[in-house]
């Protein structure tokens, strides 16, 4: 492998590893030829200096995007779960919205659990169960200041909720009450004196939303067979807690909430998530956009170490040039703020130079000719 040594620094690690594997057992001279060809190919596929990658990327994503607007709503109500797709989803990701419209998880399971046995039970154990889900009827007894909630035995069994769990959850969250269960009826009594109807009513509403078991934030679960294993698709997301469940395959389980990924798995994971999510939308529309354009966008969004959307508050506000920022949105604000601190515009990028009618520093406008000047004595 000595022959390949010189390429170690020339090629990216992944490519080098692949090259090493492929040339295993080859004669040195032959391996060298292959390596040379690989290096040449790599060299040629690199972006040349002065290529306006950003603009080409913007056009490459933007042009198919115009076609997408028309198709977006054709999927309404078809899938088993309503997911934001198409242009609204892309806008959501690229704008860097912290609250996405339809948060979703795909939970992969470890070996014994993913075979389909008890899959429904596992799925339901992940789901957030609140008191509302098991209660069938609420009664307010004004005379005794009590609330009587009838619970469905069947629902409790389905969700494997016991009386004890209910009691614990309720006394654990609401203070100043006593609760007991008699023949599937939960009776809640306020410890204080006479409560007004208004307050009891508020308590009743509060009871409905009391969290009993499961993972908070997971509103809906759906076990699905994918290839030869069962996975759980959820509406609502809580990556942190799901990853801590013992039957969950932490390596493959994902969420579509980029911010959550950035929080829990770090910015590099968020970058990859952006690429995957955007690419998924583009693919689902039957469009063909080179992944490198999306990678560039993802890099830009994540380059600050946290997610910054492509908006005037996000990456655009990071631009160094005042004129470039002013040419995007809210020009007066940018100009005035810049003048307050005496900003200097170095005119290093495209927009400013178009405004001034100077050659833009891309393509043929990038290189300059340097000559050595010598003094001529007369």
């Amino acid at each position: 492998m000595a022959t390949l040594k010189e390429y170690q620094d020339k090629l990216p690690p992944k490519l080098f590893e692949e090259l090493k594997d492929e040339t295993k057992g080859m004669a040195d001279s032959k391996a060298k030829k292959v390596a040379e060809a690989v290096y040449e190919e790599f060299r040629m596929s690199r972006v040349e200096p002065g290529e306006s990658v950003g603009l080409v990327g913007a056009e490459s994503i933007g042009e198919p995007g115009t076609q997408m607007t028309l198709n977006t709503f054709h999927f309404a109500g078809v899938a088993e779960m309503n997911v934001t797709m198409g242009l609204p989803r892309i806008i959501e990701i690229l704008d860097g919205r912290a609250k996405i419209k339809t948060p979703m998880m795909e939970i992969f399971l470890k070996n014994p659990y993913n075979k389909g046995k008890d899959i429904k039970k596992i799925a339901l154990s992940v789901r957030e169960t609140v008191f509302r889900d098991i209660a069938t009827e609420f009664l307010i007894n004004l005379a005794d200041s009590t609330i009587e909630a009838k619970m469905s035995k069947k629902k409790m069994d389905d969700l494997s909720v016991t009386d004890n769990m209910v009691l614990k959850a309720i006394t654990g969250t609401v203070k100043g009450i006593t609760a007991r269960i008699k023949e599937n009826v939960l009776i809640v009594k306020t410890k204080g004196k006479e409560e007004s109807l208004n307050e009891i009513y508020r308590l009743k509403e509060k009871l409905k939303d009391i969290f009993i078991k499961g993972v908070k934030g997971i509103k809906q679960v759906l076990p699905v067979k994918r290839e030869d294993e069962f996975i759980i698709i959820t509406a609502g997301t809580n990556l942190n807690e799901v990853l801590q469940l013992e039957f969950v395959d932490e390596e493959r389980t994902i969420t579509n909430d980029i911010f959550e990924i950035a929080d829990i798995l770090g910015i590099e994971a968020a970058r990859q998530a952006i690429i995957n999510e955007v690419y998924k939308v583009i693919e689902s529309q039957g469009l063909n956009v080179d992944i490198r354009h999306i990678m560039l966008v993802a890099d830009t969004i994540c380059s600050a170490g946290r997610i910054k959307g492509i908006t005037r508050y996000g990456v655009v506000s990071e631009k160094s040039s005042v004129l470039a920022r002013a040419s995007f949105e809210t020009p007066i604000r940018h100009i005035i703020n810049a003048s307050l601190v005496g900003e200097v515009d170095e005119l290093t990028s495209v927009v400013e130079n178009v405004m001034l009618n100077q050659p833009i520093p891309v393509g043929t406008g990038l290189p300059g000719l340097v000559t050595k000047s010598t003094k001529v004595d007369k």
């Binding site: 056009e59 405004m355 043929t364 406008g365």
Partner: protein
Amino acid sequence: MTEVYINGKYVGNVENPEDFTKQVINERRKGVISAESNIFYDYKSDEIRVECLKGRVRRPLIVVKDGQPLLTEKHVKQLEKGELKWSDLIEQGVVEVLDTSEEENALVAFWEKDLTKEHTHLEITPLAMLGLTGSLVPYANYTQSARLNIGAKNQKQALGFYASNFPVRMDMDVNLLHTPQLPIVRTIMHEISQYEDHPAGQNMVVAVMSYKGYNMEDAIIINKGSIDRGMGRSTYYRPAIAEELRYSGGLIDEISIPDKDVKGYKSETDYRYLEEDGIVYPEASVAEGDVIIGKTSPPRFLSSMDEYNLASNVRRESSTSLSHGEEGVVDFVLITENEEGNKLVQVRLRDQRIPEIGDKFTSRHGQKGVIGLIVPEIDLPFTASGIKPDLIFSPHGIPSRMTVSHLLELVGGKMGALAGRFVDSTAFQAEGEEDIRKELLSLGFRENGVETVYNGMTGEQYPARIYIGNMHYLKLKHMVANKLHSRARGPIQLLTRQPTEGRAKEGGLRLGEMEKDTFVAYGASLLLKERFDSDRTIVPVCSNCGMIAIKDVFKNKSYCPICSDSEIDDIEISYAFKLILDEFKSLGIYPKLELENKY
């Protein structure tokens, strides 16, 4: 209980909605309630809606009772004699006008023979479902509705004989077709609307075939011989107007040949067509730049500056002249007075328009197209009997648009032309296709309208038989002569020094934001700079304070009004950027330019 709404406002409830609705309708037919109101019982939502506001689409129908129409032979006879009017029929409740919602509860029979006990109304004629221009489309019921709409719309843009008093009218932007004809394939609406008095369009021999690719994408081929014989020729009338305006201080415009010392005096040749009164003489052939009405105005500002101005009280030139690309013959001169009592001069110019490549024509079926090629008559294909088409229409226009009426008109027109009679093609009651085919066969032609055709250039017989016949084609008012536009250099805007916009101002075609992006993406940096230098300026900049300096051309010296004795450099920037720097200054922002050597 059913809620009742009048014009969308809740008014109350009724116990028995169906009886109530019936009662209202009966009262309306008796004339107790206005005939312009409509009532609709929506049994899905159990609501009654009464509407009597303007803007509803309504149409008349004959009232039917127990399967018998109320309109009888007696009525028709009386109508013919003029003893009965339309309004009488409505008053008597024989005919009523339904709006779109009341129509929902009506069962309308197409023909009298279809009437049953359930029917509530009878069509006066099925044609009444269409509007005026819609019912002028032949075989309208054979065409896709979208195309019918387009066909109806196109008729409104057709050139024709719009008014017989046109010589004494001063209309703006008007076209007149020279030899309009009545369509051979007509509908009864042509009679009703007295189409003979204001015809539009001409009957042309149409061949459905391709011709050297010059009729792709809806283009049409036109016979040069037909044009020479006057087909599709029209005149375009356009007025030039000048008014003697009155200004404060008793000053007034004057329509006359301007004196030579007038401010803004054009060259003498520009005024050569004017007579002593300052107006062109009729039949003068004028072109771009020629003055039509000579006029001078008083000076714009009568300020104190005039004391120092020796050439004070110099009047301004404000003549009306032909703008860029316009030409024509002076047709009619009118001198009159307007409401304010000001002298008003109107000059009507006339311009003959011979069909040229790019003029728009259409059949009556929404099959519009633009002339793609004008072919000399000898090169056109001809039939065995020596007929050459006036117009060649591409067959690719038919399948996707499904305008079957277009094809029917072609055979219908052929039969009518050969038999020497009009063909009735009124929607729903047209002469049948079978009959047309039979009659065409009896006239010695193939029943399907197809003929053997020979190549006009080689004389060879075409392997395919060509569908050829007569159609009524309309020349539309969109003519290239009014739209053609190009510019290399030309006028610029005062404020931005960028090219003006629009054809009327001889403007440039904008290289917009997205077009700019293509240059950037390609890396054509210097080309981009060249494309955007329409407002390039050279500005002196003070190297000390970074503000724009002053260039004194007489002394050939630049200096900075703020810094004395500083170095001044000339830089090249867009004028738009100079403007934004000025705007910054007006905002109280100091935009300092720091210059450095580019090399």
